[in-house]
Each structure stands twice: as C-alpha cells, then as structure tokens.
C-alpha cells in the first residue's frame, strides 16, 4: 500500500494469509473427519499439520496487521472494515453454537421423547423400541457405547464456571483500566485472565479423562455426541480467545493502544465475554437443567 487517503475503503492486495488459513482449516477438518470415521486407529498427522498451519497463519497475519497499524497505514475506512469483520465473525460464531444447542434441544425435547412413546411416537415405541424410556441423559434405545455415567456438575463443571466468570471479571477490570490509561494495571489483569483461561482448559482436559473413566465417550449415543461437541468446540474457543488475549497483553505492554483508540483490545475483550456466556449456557443446559 503506497498511500492512504482519509476515509477511503482499504482493500489489501497481495494478501497471502487468507489462502494459507484456508489450507490449514481444510487440512484440520479433513484430518479430524478421517480420524473420527476410521474403523482402525489412525495417526491424526493431517489434523496436526493443519493446526500448525493455522498457528503459523495467526502469527503471520496478526503480526502483519499489528505492523501496518503501528506504521499508521490504517485510516477510518480500515477501522470500519475491522468492525464489519468483527460482526460477521460473531454472526458465524452465533450460528455455529446455535446449531449445536439446537441439536441438543431437538434431541432432548423432541426426538428422545418420541422414541419413548410420547406424542405421536406411541407406535414407534411399541413396534421399534418397546420398553425404551426416553429419559435424558440417554445414549438412545440401541444403548450405543454401553452403560455410562454422567459427570457430577457440583465438581469440575462448577469450578470451571467459577474460573471463567472470574476471568470475565478480571478482563472487565482490565477494560476499565485501559480506558483510564493505567497500562500496568491493564497488563496485570489481562495476565490474570489468560492464566484463568489456561486453568479452565486444564480442568476441562481433566474432566474429559474422568468422563472416559465413566465410559462417557464420543461414542455414547446422542448424549455423548452433544456433550463432547458442545464442550469440545467451546474449549477450542477458549484456547483461541486465550491466544488472542495473550497477543493483546503484549500489545498493551508495548503501548499500542490509547484510552480512546483500542478496538483490537475491545474486540478481544468482548469475544472473551462471549465465550463465557456460551459456557454459562452450557453449564445450565448440559449439566444442570
């Protein structure tokens, strides 16, 4: 980009990171699908390669945007494009989680009761699944994956909820500190937020190990599928949010943001709140109600 006219919409040219990101995402999804659908144990090398490509892309793309921003190449038009990018990103995220929550609600309130004979499902139950009681949680009338036990919501899920809520409190304090131009306080509270996010992920992994000991696996029918899909994808979002917060923390420490100009910080802070609210929904609908 040679020169910047005020308020002119900025279209980046020679951008190589989008195609790198597309290759990384395709490799990750293909690799993961191959592992999940294989009859035999497969080494997920394609998935790992994809994840590494995505990390390289994040490092490269973030770095390029930060460099261009610091060189003063961005005008108000670019600022608008960042905000539009954010709203589309969040729209896709909302649709993504709406699909999985929708699957959970459909199974719990409609399809499982039908198989149990509720509503118009009486003959279905009598002819196909006689004796099956459609009680949640269930791995379905065929008892896929065998007998399993569900996790105690008072134990790890409760601690994890407290950890994430606390991390949202710390990121909010950092937000207020940023607006008050207290840089060192902002850094301290952001570091606390990242550490709380890391603690959440550690406990989430511990919980998965516990679940597998209770024979609650990804193979455990509809409950296992919805449980691991919802909590697993949420965990990936926490990981991504923590990486973004860590980058923002370094940028705050370097003095990249001003009390009246800190969209990058604010967007990531909002994203962290979003991830926390999704967990609150998970805690309520997956573990409690």
């Amino acid at each position: 980009m040679s020169e910047v006219n005020a308020d002119q919409y900025f279209v980046p040219h020679k951008a190589r990171w989008p195609i790198v990101g597309s290759i990384g995402l395709t490799a990750t999804v293909l690799g993961a699908a191959h592992v999940l659908n294989s009859e035999t144990t497969v080494t997920p090398w394609l998935m790992y390669a994809g994840l590494i490509i995505i990390l390289v892309m994040m490092f490269g793309w973030f770095g390029e945007v930060i460099k261009e921003s610091e060189e003063g190449l961005y005008n108000t038009g670019v600022d608008t494009s960042f905000r539009m990018g954010m709203i589309w990103f969040i729209f896709s995220e909302v649709m993504f989680f709406a699909c999985f929550f929708g699957a959970l609600f459909y199974a719990r309130t409609l399809s499982v009761p039908w198989l149990g004979g509720e509503g118009t499902g009486l003959s279905t139950n009598e002819v196909l699944w006689n004796g099956y009681e459609g009680v949640w949680p269930t791995n379905g009338p065929a008892a896929l994956g065998g007998h399993f036990e569900v996790l105690d919501p008072f134990h790890l899920p409760l601690i994890n909820t407290m950890l994430l809520l606390t991390s949202s409190v710390t990121v909010t304090i950092a937000h207020h500190a940023m607006r008050a131009n207290h840089r060192s306080q902002t850094v301290i509270w952001l570091v606390a937020t990242v550490l709380l996010g890391a603690a959440f992920m550690y406990l989430q992994v511990t919980e998965y190990i516990e679940a597998y000991h209770l024979n609650l696996t990804l193979e455990s029918g509809i409950y296992g599928s919805t449980f691991f899909m919802l909590t697993g994808f949420h965990g990936m979002h926490v990981t991504l949010g923590a990486i973004m917060l860590a980058v923002i923390t370094v940028r705050v420490a370097k003095g990249h943001f001003k009390p009246d100009r800190h969209f990058g910080f604010e967007a990531v802070a909002w994203y962290w709140h979003f991830v926390d609210v999704v967990w609150l929904g998970l805690f309520i609908f997956v573990y409690i109600l």
Partner: protein, 71 residues
Amino acid sequence: MKYVIVVALLFVLFSLGQALFYLVKGKGQSGNTVKFLTVRIIASVVLFLLILLAMKMGWVVPHGIKMVPAG
C-alpha cells in the same frame, strides 16, 4: 425456577448484544461497550449465585444427580 434461570440468561445475552452493538458502531461508543459488558458480568455472577441457591434449596435438581442413565 427453570424459567427464572432462562430469563436471567436471556438478559445476560441481551447485555452482551448491546455491548456488541456499540463495539461495531464505533465513533467514540467505547464507554457504552464497557458499560454493557460490566452489566453483563454482574448479571452473570448474580445468575450463577441464583443457580447455586436453587440447587442448595432443591428448587432445581441437576440431571447428573440421582439419575440412572437409560440404556
């Protein structure tokens, strides 16, 4: 009690949505963004305490307790 929890969660979502509105609107609306995010976290903490109270008082029984999974 379930409905109270769901309504409280909807309020949390609404506050988060308002914060997003001011975030993408820009033009010096950062004060409103942080204001609604603060409302959102306060409401979330209150909701969490409400859930704890509801479980303690037996108004809500988590399905992980006293439950024999089907199959």
